[in-house]
Symmetry: C2
Subunit: 360 residues, 2 copies
């Protein structure tokens, strides 16, 4: 088991990465909890819930709450349901919530933990590659019908426990989704690592390779988050690709495309814009090849309308005074933020959608 | 206009106290906001909303959201409604929410501000004496059907603006309610001030006297909150009287008794317990006289059942591992926390209810 230490303004916490550690939560945590509530989704519950429960003693003190799998559960309704369970189970300020699942569960259960009794301890147990991103940095949230993550808090877990074995059950789309964010971390940090990533065939990754990539990705994210917990400055760079991605997800209806796949497509657009604005030698061609070779679902963009996408972007949390701020790169590892006027964006996005259709 | 400075882990903020300052918000704030949303209740809206709006220029940028007056609005439904308004009005991370009203509005609007886009700036504009307590210290929350303030955050305002003129419209019950918390602050700090307070006839207070008492009360609260923002230690003392008060409020149905009136009755019980446990010379007799002379609604306790009250206490946020922790006093200005076993509490509460009935 390897571990990374993440610093935050309220407390430091460890990310434990290992194989088969899902049954060792009680042992890994350095604090005793008399009451524990494991929150998970219907899919993950079938696969891993029992093993996590069995790692606790006595078993009687561990409650569970299962929500339907899928992004649609990151809703006000499920949030309320979880708060009701917390009250029914009589969780108190010394109790623990465990978020067992992908990013949806981490965000939803984390938001419940951050607001129940004004905040109780919670542990992130990511079961997807994608969640290497969301499980670190303390962003928790639910969606509003008008936009993703519009309701939430900054609230750090007390521990992140990452069992690599749980990644073996991921579908090809979920692997792609995870590597959308991994490659983003590559673009924000290290040209050499990025080159390696862009050579990968995502159906052929070894467990060791994934573990290595996750640890690197988490370190890149942690470096930015530790400098700027509340996203007043450098943390914004982590939104590379996300402005368009959130709009794509909202327009298609949450769940029709995975988050990381949408991010990967959003990054493609950001790279094109960066190249045009800064005449950089970013590896755009390699990037597009990686997207196409690994079957990212670019065909889904056929359904989408340019103006509707831009309207969605205006509701993005990064949008200030209705000017859309875009994360671009002057080079690999050198992000910046550029305000884009409506007209320019409309033109560029139209061109981009045409280009994507050519690759469909 | 006088002002107090409150320190917090995220930022320091000022409490401005003055007469007729409700129309000067833009001038008092040291930051410009392009979009402002004033959240208030139906009662306060009729009296003061227009004057607050008129203090801003241009007026077009100021939106409003009005919820029904009364504690019942501190609900999940109104919270959702306010989030919907924030989205509709396209508030962004540089926008401001103003909570214009009593504690209910401060708590509700503050919770919305703390979770919309993971937190935007908000200003507390208390319009009751009671809210001198809730507007300082960063506790924001809504109620759950099973208990008061079970869902919330720690989130500090950027400014507190207290217009003394708005206190002239308070009913006798609201004045009593406010002084419940003022006297609590006296008990937690200063025997001399406490003596003065317990001599007061609450129907005869001058504006100057109220302003003086509010400033003192806020300072007492701020001293404890600055030491312990997240209620891990000394901040808990501010819950003097609140364990029983929250149970009384919940059992009667929120709104049937004001919060401060319930607190004053809860303090009576805490003083009796303190006297018995510590043989202190707390001014219990003067306190009871103050309660009776000022017509605190002790008769409402007739309806209540001892066991139901204790059951409610077990759901209190301060309850840990189902043992009820009570704030008591070893002397005026010297609070402590005592765990109480069910049996003892049942006995004492029964005796207390009998005594209260004798004064009815």
């Amino acid at each position: 088991m390897s571990s990374l230490l993440i610093q935050s303004s309220t407390h430091d916490y460890e990310v434990a990465i290992g194989s088969g550690i899902r049954g060792r939560v009680e042992e890994i945590l350095d604090k005793d909890y008399q009451k524990v509530l494991i929150i998970t989704d219907s899919q993950v519950a079938d696969l891993y819930l029992q093993q996590v429960i069995e790692g606790f003693s006595p078993k009687g003190q561990v409650g569970t709450a299962v929500v339907p799998a899928g992004e649609a559960s990151k809703s006000m309704e499920q949030y309320q349901y979880l708060l009701d369970v917390c009250v029914e189970e009589r969780l108190d300020r010394k109790s623990l919530i465990i978020a067992l699942g992908g990013g949806m569960i981490g965000d939803l259960a984390g938001f419940a933990a951050s607001t129940y009794l004004r905040g109780i301890d919670f542990v992130q147990m990511p079961t997807t590659i994608l969640a290497h991103d969301s499980s670190v940095g303390g962003k928790v949230a639910i969606n509003h019908p008008q936009g993703k993550n519009l309701i939430g808090s900054f609230y750090n877990p007390v521990h992140v426990i990452y069992d690599m074995e749980t990644l073996s059950s991921l579908s090809p789309a979920e692997v792609r989704s995870g590597y959308g964010e991994v490659v983003k971390h590559g673009l924000l940090s290290d040209p050499k690592w990025l080159d390696e990533l862009l050579q990968q065939d995502l159906t052929q990754l070894s467990k060791d390779q994934i573990a290595k990539d996750l640890a690197k990705g988490i370190r890149v994210k942690a470096n930015l988050v530790e400098q700027d917990e509340r996203e007043a400055g450098v943390r914004k760079y982590l939104n590379l690709g996300h402005t368009l991605a959130h709009s794509i997800e909202a327009e298609l209806g949450y769940g029709d495309i995975t988050h990381g796949e949408a991010v990967a497509i959003g990054i493609w657009f950001a790279l094109k814009l960066s190249k045009k604005k800064f005449q950089t030698d970013l590896p755009v061609k390699d990037y597009v090849n990686w997207i196409i070779r690994n079957h990212f679902p670019v065909d889904k963009l056929n359904k989408l309308d340019c103006n509707s996408l831009i309207n969605r972007m205006k509701r993005d949390k990064k949008t200030v005074h209705e000017v859309i701020n875009y994360v671009l790169l002057t080079d690999t590892g050198f992000p910046c933020i550029e305000p884009l006027q409506d007209e320019e964006l409309l033109q560029e996005l139209n061109d981009f959608l045409k280009e994507v259709r050519r690759h469909d």
